[in-house]
């Protein structure tokens, strides 16, 4: 049995009378690529937001990397090694590639609070290494992001998440806004993460992608975990039955 990286026990969250998460037990092992699937409104986003500190659960415990954690902001989660790649791409379009990769974590030559002098060359060099390591190809690191394609921008967002000693990367619909070729490119980058031993949680509607990229598939339905299956031992049809609740009825 591999060591567990993240464990969530009995997570509950109510919005008014609606239980968005109800007694959710969930776990991710070291190096594991996990998919979270379910219908719209099944509670996937709520669970992800709780795991990343964006919202506070009403009940339940989160353990990460062997310790009980209480995340109150996304920065808390990031500090212990949980990075999120946001669906709406949290990038600054006017800044260049290197500046975005280092945003909020600038490398400085001299530290003087806000007047700290930026180490431009060092950051650019490290940015190049980071992109190479993640398999992202950008011809010019000084290019502002607004001149790059959607796939390149998503790749940069992923590379940024990888770069900071993170242990788990959470991606919400990583290819939803991309064309066929760009989707293939971003999927290749996610596959590279597997080879590097990075744990990944992907929220996706695309079952083809889920089977392609993940080891384990978790299904949520009406705020509860409907089940989790090893990819090897399950068919797409089984997953669809879990999503729609056909198994429960039968």
């Amino acid at each position: 049995m591999t060591a567990s990286l993240l464990e969530a026990h009995g997570i509950g969250k109510h919005f008014g009378g609606v239980a968005a998460a109800d007694g959710v037990d969930f776990h991710i092992n070291q190096h594991e690529h996990v998919a979270l699937v379910g219908d719209n409104g099944a509670g996937k986003s709520t669970l992800v937001k709780i795991l990343t500190g964006a919202i506070l659960p009403d009940s339940g415990e989160i353990w990460f990397d062997g310790q009980r954690r209480h995340f109150t902001t996304p920065l808390d989660a990031r500090r212990v090694g949980i990075e999120t790649v946001y669906q709406n791409l949290a990038l600054a379009d006017h800044l260049d590639v290197a500046a975005n990769l280092f945003l909020g974590r600038e490398d400085c030559r001299i530290r003087l609070g806000p007047f700290s002098l930026l180490a431009h060359d060092r950051m650019r060099r490290k940015a190049g290494e980071l992109l190479a390591q993640t398999g992202v190809k950008i011809p010019d690191l000084r290019e502002p992001l607004q001149n790059l394609s959607g796939g390149q921008r998503q790749s940069i967002a992923i590379a940024r998440a990888v770069g900071w000693g993170s242990k788990l990367i959470i991606m919400d619909e990583p290819t939803a806004a991309l064309g066929v070729q760009e989707t293939a490119h971003v999927e290749q980058i996610i596959r590279n993460l597997k080879n590097q031993g990075m744990a990944v949680l992907i929220v996706s509607h695309n079952l083809r992608q889920v089977f392609d990229l993940c080891d384990t598939i978790w299904v949520m339905r009406r705020g509860r975990i409907a089940g989790h299956r090893e990819k090897r031992s399950v068919s797409a049809e089984n997953i669809v039955r879990l999503i729609t609740g056909a198994d429960a009825v039968a």
């Binding site: 996304p74 920065l75 990031r78 946001y86 791409l89 949290a90 990038l91 600054a92 379009d93 006017h94 800044l95 500046a99 945003l103 909020g104 974590r105 600038e106 400085c108 003087l112 806000p114 007047f115 700290s116 002098l117 930026l118 431009h120 011809p139 010019d140 000084r142 290019e143 502002p144 607004q146 001149n147």
Partner: protein, 334 residues
Amino acid sequence: MEVEVARSAGRVSGQRGSLRVNRILRLDWLGAAFGVALVFVLLSVLSPYFLTSDNILTILVQTAVVAILAGGQTFVILTAQIDLATAAVAALAGAVVGMLMVHAGLNPYVGIALSLAIGGVVGLFNGVLVALARLPAFIVTLAGLSLWRGLGLQLTSGYDSSPMPDVIGFLGRGDVGPIPVPVLIMLGFYGAMAVILRQTKLGRYFYAIGSNEDAARLAGIRVRPYKVAAFLISGLSSGLAGIVLIGRLDSSGGTIAQGLELDAIAAVVLGGTSLFGGRGSIWGSLLGAVLMATIRNGMDLLQISPFLQLVTLGLVILLAVGLDVLRVRRFVWV
């Protein structure tokens, strides 16, 4: 057009040469530099008095006050806000400090510090209302336009004070060798601002916040103190501009610097800084201010009526804002 060319250059990129061309075409101040060059050539042909060292220095002296206001304004506009009160704050600081120096024997060095302090306090006030109380910057500083100038007039009972102490006169009218002191102050100020904007974390965060405030917040940047800081820098610039202006006029009062806030905003926009935030450069603002002063100077030399001068400058500003909107729109459509 620059953007178009830059993009097609990007497509064939890969070779070093095209990367370099791409980088040059991407410079925000390129348009303003082109404008200054064009106006210089045009006026040199049209007027024999234009291209003389005396006239060029006159243009630069006339640029100084607007350029300093524009420098502070650049920080505010880069964070996607606006400061309409810059000239009114310069008038408040200049009027109060001038009166105290002339009538109360205030030491001029203390006067300089006081002028900066007044500008800084008003800047903080604006920044706190905008960033912490979340009032729209346009409204806060529009109110300030009336508030600070009115306060300056009230505190000086509407009287002008003169003459200024020698130290202040030197800052506004003096020379070091062949170079006028206000021009040196302007260049020193821009050098310092350029270092802040390009080399420090502070500058990087102004760009990031103006580009995508949510992204900046998610990256762990505390957005609100930086927004306040942008207004603080603008306020300090106003204090500096106030001192240079009363030195040049050799007189202070609540009516100085009328309308210069709009010249400063125009200079920033002409310099390629986007009113939508996130894109621009400090040197562009200097070029923009030089462009405005050069067009004014040229029209004086060509004896164009002051009414037509107003019309012309208005059209120039419209052109600059129009280009900015077009650039942003093209980006959205892509």
